[in-house]
Symmetry: C2
Subunit: 144 residues, 2 copies
DNA sequence: AGTATAAACTTACCTAGGTAACTAAATGCG
DNA sequence: CGCATTTAGTTACCTAGGTAAGTTTATACT
């Protein structure tokens, strides 16, 4: 019955992306673009590496999404002192719009989770975090 | 903190797909292809609609994957008596290989879930199933 | 019967993620 | 210093999913 578990995870992942995309339509954004904007709103300026490390995706994925965000004026990029890296930050117009978008997304998420109590949500996160292979970040220290 | 929950679901979804893809590499398959083969192994011949209804994806997604499975000889398709529909079934060579692949995938899944007890896995599925909007299938009957 | 509507599948095009191979800059080291 | 290696980012190409529009067949209705 393990099969069902991953099936279910996969389903809910797609469902939530679909709902978020739907809500973002009025802002002309997609879910992965929003996840980057949200990231920048939390942490301020970031290099692309910091972004893909945080989102736990590969570098090319972030490159592509960021290029589109830059083209549509949501972010600015500049070279770092290390000229290999590019420092990304929200444009001023994005800064203004982000809070409203965040509210909208929060509503979508609350909607999807309306059948779960706060305790159940905590439990769910906790259980999800236990999925994975042996090595996790907290073991890196004593790894050897 | 809702944000974290969907973030986590998304992460685990991608992680499990990645691991499954890795394991399937030796068979020349991808995860979504496998999900269709697995489906056919359970239910025998199916129309494409039955497949995408079961997997809960859109028709074009199944069309594409099925075309590739047909090209690489894993499945056969024939017209139904209703000439609009196409009936899909495993090829005989696929029938032979599927059990071994299933064993391999099961190992991957057990690996990913090794930190969770059986009870925790049940709990996790149960909680995941509670994610969603108002209308669910079991309400269709009394819907109206 | 004839026409309109619905259904099953396909095609075209979009975002999202992955790997592999590449470029350019920084770092390490003899 | 000069060369090899590493690192940040990009490019090209693959699967996976979605929507919108098109095709062909079945069904409904007058």
């Amino acid at each position: 019955m393990n099969k069902l578990l991953f099936h279910e995870i996969h389903q809910k992942s797609r469902l939530s992306i679909k709902e978020v995309n739907d809500a973002l339509k009025e802002f002309g954004l997609y879910s992965s673009q929003w996840s980057i904007l949200f990231c920048l709103k939390q942490f301020g300026s970031m290099t692309q590496k910091e972004i893909w490390k945080y989102l736990n995706v590969e570098a090319p994925t972030v490159t592509r999404t960021i290029v589109r965000l830059e083209e549509s004026g949501w972010i600015n990029r500049r070279e770092g002192t290390d000229k290999r890296e590019k420092i990304v930050q929200l444009s001023s117009s994005a800064e203004q719009k982000v809070p409203e978008i965040e509210k909208r997304i929060r509503r979508v998420e609350e909607n999807l989770l309306s059948k779960l109590s706060d305790e159940e949500q905590d439990q769910l996160i906790h259980l999800l975090k236990k999925i994975g292979l042996e090595s996790t970040e907290e073991k890196d220290v004593k790894n050897g």
